[in-house]
């Protein structure tokens, strides 16, 4: 466990917990689909495994915090006008995020086009199994549905949450899940901010503040992150765009490729992909290609010469 704490950041540990929950639900979903397990029984298996996952994640977070405190001797920070300014930025960021959470919980609009998650979850719960009936009508399927859609485990995850909490599918899917997704979206963007502005904490908070502002101004542009975050964050594509993709970029920038493979697997559980190869796989390959090309460019004689002359103070 020590190497996990040393190698990965707090945000990475939280995201590992997030992806772990999705992958766990996916495994149980496949058992429900192919072995005919019941939702009720599977929900309790899910609860036990999720508790272990949550305990593990919290433990790693605590160890990470302790490790950070032990490694760095924090200098006494004088309160300057710049610190005060950044305290204001923290406050504004928190306000924007809280307002987004309130809009998601109590707002009037949701984006339902092309989505039948709640109907699926309600049908799963009613028939205690997956894809027993067409969720649109409640009648048995006559022609069936594509297997590549049946294997996606997100509706089953939401069904487990409904079973364990006793809450209605509409409440869980349209209100509670988006709040959780919004939280993890900011965790993922925080990880990306750390990867982009490694040495400068103030730049990271400005970055997050601008992201929160962009979420608000994107609400009227269909398909953009803000629109997904505030009107449709329960969807597989929204989880991918808001949480997995920013984290994927941070992992590739920090060269944490093993975790990146886990993200690719998580996306395959959420969205229809080309036999498992989705957006995250494309990002993985192309970012790696970009790194290799830049590495080759740095090694060329011309580039080496330029670096030498800069080092010697001549140009």
């Amino acid at each position: 466990m020590g190497w996990i704490v040393k190698k990965y950041s707090l945000a990475d540990i939280l995201m590992i917990g997030f992806c772990g929950g999705i992958l766990l639900a996916e495994v149980l979903h496949l058992l429900l689909l192919f072995q005919g397990w019941s939702i009720q029984e599977s929900a309790y298996v899910f609860a036990v495994c999720l508790c272990l996952l949550v305990v593990g994640t919290v433990l790693l977070c605590v160890l990470k915090k302790k490790s950070n405190r032990d490694d760095v001797v924090q200098p006494r920070v004088e309160v300057t006008s710049k610190n005060k300014t950044f305290k204001i930025f923290y406050g504004v960021f928190a306000t924007l995020v809280i307002l987004q959470g309130l809009l998601v919980l109590f707002g009037n609009h949701i984006y339902l086009r092309g989505d039948m998650t709640v109907e699926n979850v309600a049908s799963f719960l009613h028939y205690d199994g997956v894809y027993r009936v067409n969720p649109m009508t409640g009648a048995p399927y006559t022609q069936g549905m594509p297997l590549r859609l049946q294997i996606l485990g997100l509706p089953t995850l939401y069904s487990f949450v409904c079973t364990l909490t006793g809450l209605s599918p509409a409440l869980v899917v349209w209100r509670l899940v988006p709040v959780v997704v919004l939280f993890f979206s900011y965790v993922a963007y925080g990880a990306l901010a750390k990867a982009l502005f490694t040495e400068n904490k103030e730049k990271r908070i400005v970055f997050l503040l601008v992201v929160a502002t962009l979420f608000w101004v994107e609400t009227g542009i269909g398909g953009m992150d803000g629109y997904h975050a505030l009107y449709g964050a329960w969807r597989g594509t929204a989880l991918r765009n808001l949480v997995l993709i920013p984290w994927m970029f941070s992992l590739m920038l920090c060269k944490k490729r093993v975790l990146a493979l886990g993200v690719i697997a998580t996306e395959a559980c959420l969205c229809w992909t080309l036999y498992g190869a989705g957006v995250c796989a494309l990002i993985f390959v192309l970012m790696q290609v970009a790194e290799w090309i830049l590495a080759v460019g740095r090694k060329t004689p011309k580039a080496a010469g330029e670096r030498r002359s800069v080092k010697n103070g001549t140009s």
Binding site: G114, M136, T137, Q143, A170, L214, E218
Partner: protein, 286 residues
């Protein structure tokens, strides 16, 4: 060719609702030419390459093929970190204004830069509900939760009349059918949301019979105007068609003519009951 055409038209539709992609291009130019050492090169080059790939129709068609036909053009922009890159550009620009030059009036420059960027974001973004042009009509794809709440109340009243444990097959207007399955999954429908939201048909191979499609069109006419465009078919025949399709519970909109409701009820051997803004035709088993 169809894919190439969608890729060509997709860009035009994509920038209709907001101009944040222009800010993305500005951020890329900022990092590529002005602040070359500011940001990780692989991140900049990847974003620039993929942005070009999403705009150029040929490469956009390739990306659409890769993401599979299940998704439309706008989804290919998931590969471009638009929000993150714009945020990076704004962060770096603000940092340059705030810290690069120590001058008098730096505070006012800093505040001015923040205000200017805020205005630019508001002008390039769109904080309203997104609307698109579809068949010369503006369509707002957001659904109001108020309508869902109304349906919950109607279904609650329906259950009081019909009994909690009765399995019902409902023929209802679009405004009710939209939320019934989400509210009470024990109620089956003659048709669901995939009757009018065609994108949902990608989820299953099932299709509706011509009779069910006809019943949907009739109910839509009643809901919109209170009368049928197809005058030659009698209310008794329609009630019979609904029952043959499997419906044992019918909700009719209040906008319909009373005589039509009465004739349908009489043909079913029952009396119509008022249920909120609807007429209920239900033959109980008691």
């Amino acid at each position: 060719m169809e894919l190439l055409k969608n890729a060509w038209l997709g860009w035009g539709n994509y920038i209709q609702q907001g101009k944040l992609v222009i800010l993305l291009l500005v951020a890329l130019l900022f990092f590529l030419f002005l602040k070359k050492e500011e940001m990780k090169r692989s991140w900049i080059w990847y974003t620039a390459f993929m942005t070009a790939g999403c705009i150029c129709p040929v490469t956009a068609a390739v990306l659409m093929k890769y993401q599979t036909a299940f998704y439309d053009y706008a989804h290919i922009w998931s590969v471009v970190p638009t929000t993150a890159m714009i945020a990076c550009g704004i962060t770096s620009f603000l940092w340059y204004v705030w810290t690069e030059k120590e001058e008098k009036n730096n505070k006012s420059r800093a505040i001015g830069a923040v205000v200017l960027l805020g205005v630019v974001l508001l002008l390039c973004g769109n904080m309203g509900s997104p609307v698109v042009n579809q068949n010369d009509q503006t369509v707002n794809y957001l659904t109001e939760r108020e309508r869902a709440t109304k349906v919950v109340n109607i279904i609650g009243q329906l259950r009081e009349v019909c009994g909690e444990d009765e399995s019902l097959c409902l023929w209802a207007p679009e405004s009710i059918a939209e939320y019934v399955r989400a509210t009470d999954s024990s109620i089956t429908l003659l048709y669901g949301r995939n009757m009018w939201d065609k994108s949902l048909n990608a989820y299953a191979y099932d299709v509706y019979t011509p009779e069910v499609e006809f019943l949907y069109r009739c109910m839509r006419d009643w809901e919109n105007s209170g009368t049928l465009r197809e005058d030659k078919i009698s209310p008794e025949t329609l009630a019979g068609m609904a029952q043959e399709a499997g419906a044992d519970c019918i909700l009719l909109p209040d906008s319909m003519e009373r005589i039509t409701v009465a004739r349908m009820a009489r043909s079913m051997g029952i009396r119509a009951q008022k249920l909120g803004d609807y007429w209920l035709l239900y033959e109980s088993n008691d």
